[in-house]
Amino acid sequence: MGRLFWKFFLCILLAQFAATVGIGGAIWLKNRNQQSSPLMNLDMSPPAEMAINAAAATLEFGGVKALQRMLENMDRHRVYAVDEQEHELLGRIVNPKTLQETRVRLKEDGKRRVVRQVMGDDGKRYMLFLPSGDYFQRGLDGENRPLLANLGGGAAADAGDSARTGVGGPAGAARPGVPPGASGPGGTMPALDGAQAGDGRGGQGQRPMGGNGPQGYGGPGPGPGMQGDMGGERPWGPRFQPLGPWVPIAAATLASLLFSVLLAWYFSRPIRALRQAFDAAAHGDLSPRFAKESGGNELADLGRDFDRMTARLRSLIDGQTRLLHDVSHELRSPLARLQAAIGLAHQQPEKWSASMERIERESVRMDKLVGELLTLARLEAGAIKASQEEISMADLLDQIADDATYEAASQQRIVVQDGDADVQVIGQSDLLGRAIENVVRNAIKHSPDGGEVQLQTRVLPETRQLSIRVLDRGPGVSPADLDTIFQPFFRSANANAEGHGLGLAIAQHVIEAHGGSIKASNRAGGGLCVEMILPVKK
């Protein structure tokens, strides 16, 4: 785990912390707003309004009994009907805050009639309204509890009546306390129980409900028998066991730490892999490492670039190694001859002059080889760009042809020049001359006795190029080797001991450095044709 990992880790942790604080703060502010708003205790939704309208109509035209019957049979939106003595029609407990708000609403007489006051047939005024999510509000609101407990007394008195009429007082009372999921069966069962047990069992019947209430709120329900039981305040549902604030906080912190570690690890992993790759490269291991990594991100690209770099380095190093190997091998032959000549001189001192001649010849040969190698090395290093001049190709080619004719004559071969080359090429005349000379010399060397080497030049005006073709009637090159002959130290199988196989390699490098190309092909009727194409000055 490097420092980068820890930086990532801390950043992610900080970000999480900031997000948590931000979100927590926002929720807290919203909560506070809600709590401070006094008009939030009533359900003001359209269905509630409809239910209230229905209840008002029932009360107005059917009377109190009709409303009672209707409310008993309602499952949802069971409208509250409270008279002036703050007694609910079904004996349900009403939050005083809600009542207060109800009165405020009634006076406001807004567009939406969520609270209505209707005169019942028993001469009492009933306020009809629907509290919203009251159990939740009250549950959190600690200060409500004592008030509710007080209210419980009044409600309990009423409960006796309810129980006798078969309407489970407990059912009504427990109802606000029941969590929504449990409301169905839980609400009906104690009601039946209460109906059968009558007065005495009214309190007993609803006990399970009271215990079930989330914060023990249902406890102060009706029925005096209840009080003793509730004194114990048994926490029933384990789901609602208060865990205290620390357990969730610890769990959240742990999860956040774990998440941060994972994320930091995920981000720092490719960087670690890259570092290992660089390490390996520093130790000379240039094998590709990211070939199988797929992915479109920048780090994957970096890995691929790294692979490309090592591949290029590898091929360069391989090339250098091969060249070094070839060079050492090429130097070995003249060295072996030198040593043999020296050995002979020791063995036969009377023949020293012949031996000396040999030694001299070998040293000249080695010097030439080293010179050619240096040229090649300089060309490969791109030293050609240094000096540029205009070269008159006609003059250069005449000079080469003259030299070649003289050289060929000593080997009973002739050189024929034809075509014109009255153009200029930008480059280095000595190198370009050497390149063409190498090709011509190679042709002379491989020509049979009395053979003819042709030096043909042609200007291609449409492409602004100069074509120089060197043709011989030698044995040619096998088709597979037509490209290989330009590699250093290549020697065809029938070559004699002269030369090191560097001439054509140098020619290729020079021509390419001048922006041209060189290629070899076998002639129809035997022999080799080497064509050089050079761009001409515009």
């Binding site: 060295l335 072996a336 001859r337 050995g343 002979l344 040999r358």
Partner: protein, 230 residues
Amino acid sequence: MKSKVLLIDDDIELVGMFKEYLEQEGFEVKAVHDGEAGTAEAFTGLYAIAILDVMMPRMNGLETLRRIRTNSQLPILMLTGRGDDTDRIVGLELGADDYVAKPCTPRELTARIRAILRRAQSAPADNSQQTAITVGQLIMWPEQRRATWAGNKLELTSTEFNLLEVLARNAGRPVSKNTLSEQGLGRPLARFDRNIDVHLSSLRHKLGTIADGRSCLQTVYRLGYQLIKE
């Protein structure tokens, strides 16, 4: 009688000088410049030793060596490039008797040729014991340059035979690599010389195993090699 030496090398000039030198040293020399001609000459059986360059165009030295070895136990001295360890080891495994790194003085070459010839020719002569040497399943007749393992004839090169003979005479005792080099190859052990190890490794392949399944030729750490005497 002059020993006939077969020189196989593509460097005509070099071969010319070696020829001149060796003739002055009292050898009869025939020079050929490619592997095919060399193989043909080797099969004539006229030569006491062949000197073979590993780096040759077309049929290279190792291929030539392999072909000669299919039909002849002619002692062969390889000329290898200095540092070409693989060529060297492959050559020895293919049955070359010794090697000389290529830029070599003619004197060194002559000394090596003499060492090989001395081993190959004088072995029967300076053998006082005319009887066979028997070690377990191995029976050697040095005067006939013949050896068998469990009754089967062993095809050994002369260097392998010499080394095995040294080990057999000292059977049950470890023989140092230096002793093996001096008595088997006729020259002191050079630093980093893998010659003995390669020869013994190929000997191990040719010889059988002893009763418990191990090879009869054991390497004794820091001491050398030992032929197990059962």
